[in-house]
Amino acid sequence: MHLKPFALSALHSATSGGRRYHVWMGGLTLIMLVGAYAYSLQLRYGLGVTGMNDHVSWGLYISNFTFLVGLAAAAMMLVLPAYILKDVDFGRAVLMAEAVAVAALVMCLAFVVVDIGNPLGGWHLMPGIGFLNWPRSLLAWDVLVLNGYLALNLVIPFYILYSRFSGRQPDKRKYIPWMYIAVMWAVSIHLVTAFLLAGLPARPFWNTALLGPRFLASAFTAGPAFVILLLWFIRRETEYEISEGAFSKLALITTVAAQINLVMLGSELFYKFYSPTHHGINARYLFFGLDGHNALVPWIWTAIALSTVATIALMIHPVRNNPRWLIPACVALFVGIWIEKGIGLVVPGFIPSPLGEIVEYTPSLVELGVTAGVWALGMFVLTVLVRVALPIELGEVRSPYVEDAGAARIVRPRSTRTQRRDIRPVRTR
């Protein structure tokens, strides 16, 4: 068995690195501590310390949750071309995408936990000792699909990495079937989360058949955009080779998805505004404000501007293939969709209320602290996962019990500073 050396080497990989690495991890830990403190206040005094109220009963937490479900789903769906269509360009990107999925899921679950008013009652959800209202409640579906998806995304990469670590080729017959399941599952987590909102007759803002597809389109925009950023960083800072092809294909996926996303947004706006029925009143609040209440207006227009400009830029081939432009475009898309599928999706569902009252929402400091803490937790998890996976993938780390002489040593991961190869991110040809 190589489990113990695997764990030891993983621990070693995760805890060693250059000064910049330690500063990064230390900074994240600090933010997590701030978040933990903010959460302790919330536990002690109740959700009253947030900006939420009986009118806007879901806020920043659920907003981040809906966005991150998309990130988790999209990252995994990149696996499809890599493993199933045997695309070599993607092969190396896949483990990273799965790490993104795991980190996003950890954040999703954390956001749900910090959002519930009675977290100690969490065991009521456990089938057997509690009661899970399945299949009637879509929230029960969400609990199941999210946890199942997390399990899949932990087990598959572990199997692959562990096999490599033990000096074996991972057996395709053992993991490809699970890959298929995981890819379909990725669609399901996002659709279920969309249906969770779309199924509420009380909330016309979400009550649209396009909500599920729109979720998928925006996920396929923000997800690959984030993976591009991550791969670009990895390629710049480590020896891990990621081909030009991987970048250009990811950029293409992002571009197409961003276009579809805008088309869907356009049809939604047409339906809501061309014949202004009462159904469009929440959208009116979001885009133009109602009776002087317009807290979300600047946000949503920023999001639309970011998405539109980035999408148009990406449609121009030289721009898309030049990292100088690709990277900022990806950042813009990511932020734009974070606003649009987060605050811009959840909060206006509650404003005005079903009885027409307008009560606005502003997150409190505690809420911002907890949110920052959860994001730091996610980035921490992502960093650790990438840090553990890279040396194994690079062949620098192998189990000491492996016969293969060349690899029979635990190599200390090279310091990112000194050994960094001086390559430019994505070379344009």
């Binding site: 109740g46 009986d54 519930i116 008013g117 009652g121 899970l132 009380a202 079903p354 009885l355």
Partner: protein
């Protein structure tokens, strides 16, 4: 059926039922978690005094038993009696009040309905007041189940109505229309609850098990009438103003982080009384009764008045009608 005082599990001579197996598993969980959770804020919060006195020890133990108990709906009668005894004792230990908690079930042949006379309501809000007192609503957050909207004569338009008016009523050129939980026949709030903490009773009242609710607030998003309230912080009711006549599914103590709502004064109406809001209304705008009783006033109104309901298009069939004289 007898009950062993040292455990939560009712002993049944006929052997264990499926339900009891569930309880057994829950007890197993309690033993597993017992050590870990004993020091957590869960127990500490429920027993604010230090564990030095026998009372505080008892309170801690009772709070722990409360924490691991099941959903009210699936409890046996013996378990219900036990949890009620615990809650009454806890009220005594913690606040020094002697409350009576009922568990009266739905009466056969009864489905409650409500009607609201728009032409009679003058916006006095006596019903709101009565509801707050009757149901031990949180005074700190000023929770209200009933809302009275002031509208301009001519059209029912909630978008331009005012539910927070602070002037002499009735105001010239205005009329009033009240809302609360409409006890839908097909309630969307019940469908969405992930843990089954809210359900509809056979007499049509949608209730919440405050101890089972996890506070996800999905039901609040689902209610088309904005009828549910959340306890954003610890509810506060002065001991002197506490209504000690309580029902497990009604006006008993709520806690932080759970949802609550109008329950048609379940502790009164199941014993044949009227809801507090109906009794308090000085103009007689409120009518309450058994929809299955052909001789009831509400049936007369439904048969003889022009009635309507809000948001009929949603097909959730609220049991709350509006009418005019």
């Amino acid at each position: 059926m007898t009950s062993d005082p040292t455990t939560d599990v009712p002993r049944d001579a006929a052997g264990q039922t499926l339900l009891q197996k569930r309880v057994d598993r829950r007890r197993a969980l309690s033993i597993l978690l017992g050590g870990a959770a004993a020091g957590t804020s869960a127990v500490a919060a429920c027993a604010p005094v230090s564990a030095a006195t026998p009372e505080s020890k008892e309170a801690k133990l009772l709070a722990w038993r409360e924490y691991i108990k099941g959903n009210y709906r699936t409890m046996t009668d013996a378990e219900r009696a036990e949890t009620i005894a615990r809650l009454e004792r806890l009220a005594e230990l913690k606040r020094g009040v002697d409350v009576t908690i009922q568990s009266t079930g739905a009466q056969p042949g009864v489905v409650f309905g409500y009607a609201f006379n728009i032409s009679k309501c003058k916006g006095f809000r006596s019903c709101v007041e009565a509801c707050i007192n009757e149901n031990n609503l949180d005074r700190r957050a000023a929770t209200e189940y009933i809302r009275i909207f002031e509208m301009e004569d001519g059209v029912i338009d909630f978008d331009h109505a005012d539910a927070t008016f602070q002037h002499e009523v009735p105001a010239e050129g205005h009329f009033y229309i009240g809302t609360q939980c409409f006890q839908c026949a097909d309630p969307p709030c019940v469908k969405v609850c992930p843990v089954g903490a809210t359900w509809q009773e056979p007499d049509g009242i949608t209730v919440v098990d405050y101890d089972w609710c996890i506070g996800c607030r999905y039901c609040m998003a689902a209610c088309p009438y904005w009828a549910r309230r959340f306890n954003w912080s610890e509810p506060e009711v002065p001991v002197a103003e506490l209504n000690t006549n309580q029902h497990y599914l009604g006006n008993r103590a709520r806690k932080t982080g759970v949802v609550e709502k109008c329950h048609f004064c379940i502790h009164r109406t199941r014993k044949g009384q009227l809801p507090a809001c109906v009794e308090a209304c000085p103009t007689g705008a409120r009518v309450f009764g058994n929809l299955l009783d052909p001789n009831s006033e509400i049936r007369w109104i439904l048969a003889n008045k022009r009635v309507f309901r809000l948001k009929e298009d949603l097909k959730i069939e609220p049991r709350f009608w509006y009418f005019t004289d």
